[in-house]
């Protein structure tokens, strides 16, 4: 067998999502955006995006309307708390179990 190069295996990590797994499963309640109230959605132009700025986990897109990545959203609720239009409500995950 050919010998391996010296030190070819080191603890060098490569960037990628989901090191902590699908962290969406940590959630108890799910943030749901009411597009009637959401400022960029309502105005149909770039505005507000407070939820995007404050999301610790980078799971809300800066799009119109903003989209939440439920695969990774941990359900911290900061977006709901900070939304100036009160457009985000937290909905019990049990409701979505069937999905």
């Amino acid at each position: 067998m050919k010998e391996k190069p010296f030190g070819y295996r080191k603890s060098h990590s490569e960037p990628g999502p989901g090191d902590g797994g699908r962290t969406g499963s940590w959630r108890v309640r799910r943030p749901v955006i009411d597009l009637e109230k959401c400022i960029p959605a309502k105005r149909n132009k770039p505005a507000c995006f407070t939820c995007w700025v404050f999301c610790p986990d980078n799971v809300i897109s800066r799009t119109i309307p903003p989209v939440i990545d439920y695969q990774y959203c941990k359900g911290c609720e900061i977006c709901a708390e900070e939304c100036p239009a009160h457009a985000i409500t937290m909905v019990d995950e049990t409701i979505f179990i069937k999905e």
Binding site: G18, P56, N58
Partner: protein, 310 residues
């Protein structure tokens, strides 16, 4: 100063991957995500053990899209020095070198290396993310734990000593830029980092980081509580540029405006539940005295310089 960044001008490029191991509602995650946007992709990070080590991921997956050297607890600033030394030796003068340490890693075990690097004038940005205790190891008191805070090593009546003033210690090295910031004011943080990037030599940015698990509050209030720390005048946003100190942003507005009672802030967190009314009064008085000093300094300055543009 360059025009202020708004949410709409904040870069969209995300350098932190979702699905990392940070707690839900982590204040560090907000500051880190915004911080990396400001630093940009031509950056090498140096990180000692802390919650950030966990956030950045376990081998072989990294949550951060920047090259990062994990180093031992006491060696952060020396690690940044070594990266810089090598970059200079290899002819690279453009890459930003940023160290990002916790409060223990900065104010306690890391301060010797940091002081040495500041004295030598190393060309890096050192971030201290201050969540006011050793959170990663389970909330033990650190040099920057504020007085009265219950931690697992100040379990009953809270820390007796005051919070170590690390930015003042670093500023005493006479470096070009020292600033404080808060996870709750991401645009202010972003602009300070941008400014720091235009300056050479050691730059130090101390970021106040609310921690739901360590401080005892619901994760949804992370941003609110960080804001209250500023609005009550407990944690102040300022920068010291070439020795000139000035309050910035929300803290600057407090000179003319009204500060929230510290009690509002302290009551939101279970770590302060051991505080008697008397101790809260004492803390309030200390904050009042500090701000009287600020007001005096500002009025003297105004007399000398005329009003400063906001």
């Amino acid at each position: 100063m360059a025009s202020k960044t708004t949410i709409l001008t904040l870069p969209e490029d995300e350098l932190v991957h979702p699905g990392n191991r940070a707690c839900a509602g982590c204040g560090l995650s907000i500051a880190y995500r915004i911080g990396l946007k400001a630093l940009g992709r031509d950056t090498i990070l140096v990180v000692p053990p802390s919650c950030l080590t966990v956030l950045q991921g376990l081998y072989p997956i990294a949550a951060t899209q920047l090259p990062c050297l994990n180093v031992t607890f006491a060696s952060t600033a020396a690690g940044a020095t070594g990266v810089l030394g090598a970059l200079r030796a290899l002819g690279n003068t453009s890459t930003t070198v940023a160290a990002w340490a916790g409060d223990g890693g900065t104010s306690d075990i890391g301060i010797q290396a940091l002081s040495g690097a500041c004295e030598r004038g190393e060309d890096f940005i050192f971030f201290c993310y201050d969540n006011e205790a050793y959170m990663n190891t389970g909330v033990q008191r650190s040099g920057t734990t504020p007085q009265g805070a219950i931690t697992t090593t100040t379990p009953f009546s809270g820390k007796r000593q005051q919070k170590k003033d690390v930015p003042a210690i670093i500023a005493a090295h006479g470096i070009g830029y020292v600033a404080t910031a808060s996870a709750s004011y991401p645009l202010d943080l972003f602009d300070k980092i941008k400014k720091a990037k235009t300056i050479s030599g050691p730059r130090y940015i101390h970021i106040h980081i609310p921690c739901p698990a360590g401080w005892g509050f619901d994760p949804r209030y992370t941003v609110k509580i960080g804001r209250m720390a500023v609005e009550s005048g407990l944690f102040d946003l300022y920068e010291i540029e070439n020795g000139k100190w000035r309050l910035t942003g929300a803290s600057r507005k407090l000179i003319a405006g009204k500060r929230r009672p510290v009690k509002d802030y302290l009551e939101t967190q279970s770590r302060f539940k051991g505080l008697s009314e008397k101790r809260i009064d004492k803390i309030q008085k200390e904050v009042d005295t500090k701000w009287e000093g600020y007001a005096q300094a500002m009025s003297v300055k105004r007399d000398q310089d005329g009003p400063e543009p906001e």
